[in-house]
Symmetry: C2
């Protein structure tokens, strides 16, 4: 998913695959709701494949080094299958940062700290401290709400705690850019004056630090689609790589040659390259997912051919589940036009000062 999206937007990609599974939708991002649906039937979530070891990841990088193939502009790191693999990925990111030290802005690391969702981890416990060690070397991280809580140590229960979590991430890890990829704002108690979107909306929160380390917060509200899609995290990350790079180049101000691409303090939150990139990213994603839902609905409306022989209730349920999962596969290759040239349909909003906790105002 991530490789094709970046390639479609004109990026040359060297892909280092950390896993190789028969069915991504079961392997990488188990959906807690669907897991509950499957109850005790572990057979539902079957998949086969291999995980790269930490040594294999390091070896591949050594191979690139030997062949002088490490002049990357951007590194996107996503799911890694163990704490040791996270460390190996971290070592690569840190090495690339060091190699670029004398040319500020010539390398940028986007880190998606894939650990869990909806209040629970789907990686081993030891992956959490492994991420905490490497996040300080990243330029942009893309946690979801749960991962932002894990990294900040702050439970997000309100707009105020949300702002605190972002602030804490900037401060603890010195990471200059953060996007919290999906927050259900309507669930948070209303402590501020910012309008809360209705129940069927999700909110994406982003921030680039000012020179004093304080956050520059922006938000984009998007309608939620009533369907579980697999791979949307990777699509978001890959689009963000391409669009942020474009926006930084377009921003002028020598931003591209500035360490970590941090805009001057005078730039308002909503004018940040990160904010401008985010609305393009979300516009592309929303169009692709809308089209996916249409195709899914059309596919599921077709009658299923009868099966030879009787199926048990369990077999039938499994068959239906697999059919539904397959029908919801993101329709990417036929929708590359909306990846490349999205119709901008969302607005980026500033946070009002009065929505921030007193000590952040």
């Amino acid at each position: 998913m991530a490789t094709f999206v970046m390639q479609s937007l004109g990026c040359e990609v060297a892909a280092l695959n950390t896993v190789h599974f028969s069915t991504l939708q079961s392997g990488l991002h188990p959906n807690p709701d669907s897991q509950e649906m499957t109850g005790n039937h572990t057979g539902y979530r079957q998949f086969k494949g291999t995980r790269a070891t930490a040594q294999e990841i390091s070896d591949l990088y050594q191979g690139l080094c030997q062949s002088n193939l490490t002049d990357f502009d951007v590194m996107l790191s996503g799911y890694a299958p163990s704490a040791a693999a996270v460390e190996s990925v971290g070592t690569i990111g840190i090495d690339l940062q060091q190699k670029a030290e004398k040319k500020p802005g010539s390398f940028f690391w986007v880190l998606d700290p894939v650990m869990g969702d909806q209040g629970r981890l789907y990686v081993n416990d030891d992956v959490v401290p492994a991420y905490k060690k490497i996040v300080p070397f990243a330029d942009l991280i893309l946690p979801n709400q749960f991962e932002a809580e894990v990294l900040s140590g702050i439970k997000i229960t309100s707009l105020a705690t949300l702002a605190e979590a972002v602030t804490a991430i900037h401060r603890i890890y010195s990471v200059p850019h953060v996007i919290i990829t999906s927050v259900q704002l309507f669930k948070l108690s209303q402590s501020g004056s910012t309008p809360t979107p209705p129940e069927n909306f999700l909110t994406v929160i982003g921030s680039t630090t000012r020179s004093d380390g304080s956050p520059r917060l922006f938000r984009v509200d998007i309608p939620a689609l009533d369907c579980f899609f697999s791979g949307t995290g990777d699509m978001f990350a890959a689009l963000t790589v391409a669009r942020l790079s474009e926006a930084v180049t377009a921003a002028g101000d020598n931003l591209r040659a500035t360490k970590s691409w941090v805009s001057p303090d005078i730039v308002a939150a909503t004018d940040l390259p990160l904010a401008q990139a985010t609305i393009k990213v979300l516009s592309s994603m929303h169009s692709v997912l809308e089209r996916t839902m249409e195709s899914r609905n059309a596919e599921l409306a077709v009658a299923v051919p009868a099966h030879n022989g009787d199926l048990t209730t369990e077999e039938q349920a499994k068959r239906d589940y697999l059919r539904q999962t397959k029908a919801a596969e993101v329709r990417l290759v036929r929708n590359t036009r909306v990846l490349r040239d999205p119709k901008i349909q969302f607005k980026v909003q500033d946070w009002r000062k009065e929505d921030l906790p007193a000590h952040l105002q």
Copy 2:
């Protein structure tokens, strides 16, 4: 390479990676000429990475089967890193053919029998018999001249022996479609009346059997580019998958629902979907490679930054070699337009009857 090319042409791809290397150009298709250039310096061709075992390949396929994810229209199989891996890939192809048996034409296997080039094997000897066992289950094979010799047992030294080799491949393996991806016709002795292209041309030879098993031969001559590119075999195969599928659908005659997409005998060689696909494939490839050469030349024209410290002659030669190899990487993602919408610049030609050996006329 193959995955991105097929995706760019609108194919949904499930990729099963048989190798995972840091530098494809050294790992998969060593260029004998370049190897000679490197002499004894084995360090030149260093690369790191992993090869999928036969068991891992089979396991991934089992995973797809369990999740009902095997309704492929086309399978493209390429390089496999051992005889056992070739067998595993073969078992998958054979299983998919059997599953599609009741719906002729619903599955089509394109097999690239990657074994060697320029007169020598670059796989273990036992890979050859492994391919000979599975080729009979393929619908289209894409050998180069050397691989066609290995499979047919006929040394290609003339137009007549070339025709004999294709005929033998049809007959021995009952494989209905063959493309010999690159022949240097000017090197073959002139036994027939067909015009021979000049030295800087390559010829692609294709054939679809008639119902009596005889070949329907066509040829396309293309100017050779004076540069070694890596991955062109995979680009050719991937483009062929997409273009043949289109051409078969466009041909009507219910061809898409005909076993192995074999056109009725009345269809002339030059009108075959395989022939029509081939000129589109070669037009795309030639444009991409021409643009790659332009970019390469521009890149190599830039002065190399001085190195800190003295390099030995050997280190300098290695550095230059790596730089040249990198500069010749096929420029794919910025040239997807010519993949999707090539300017047709080549003609397909029939073989004259008098060019065939007497027993094939």
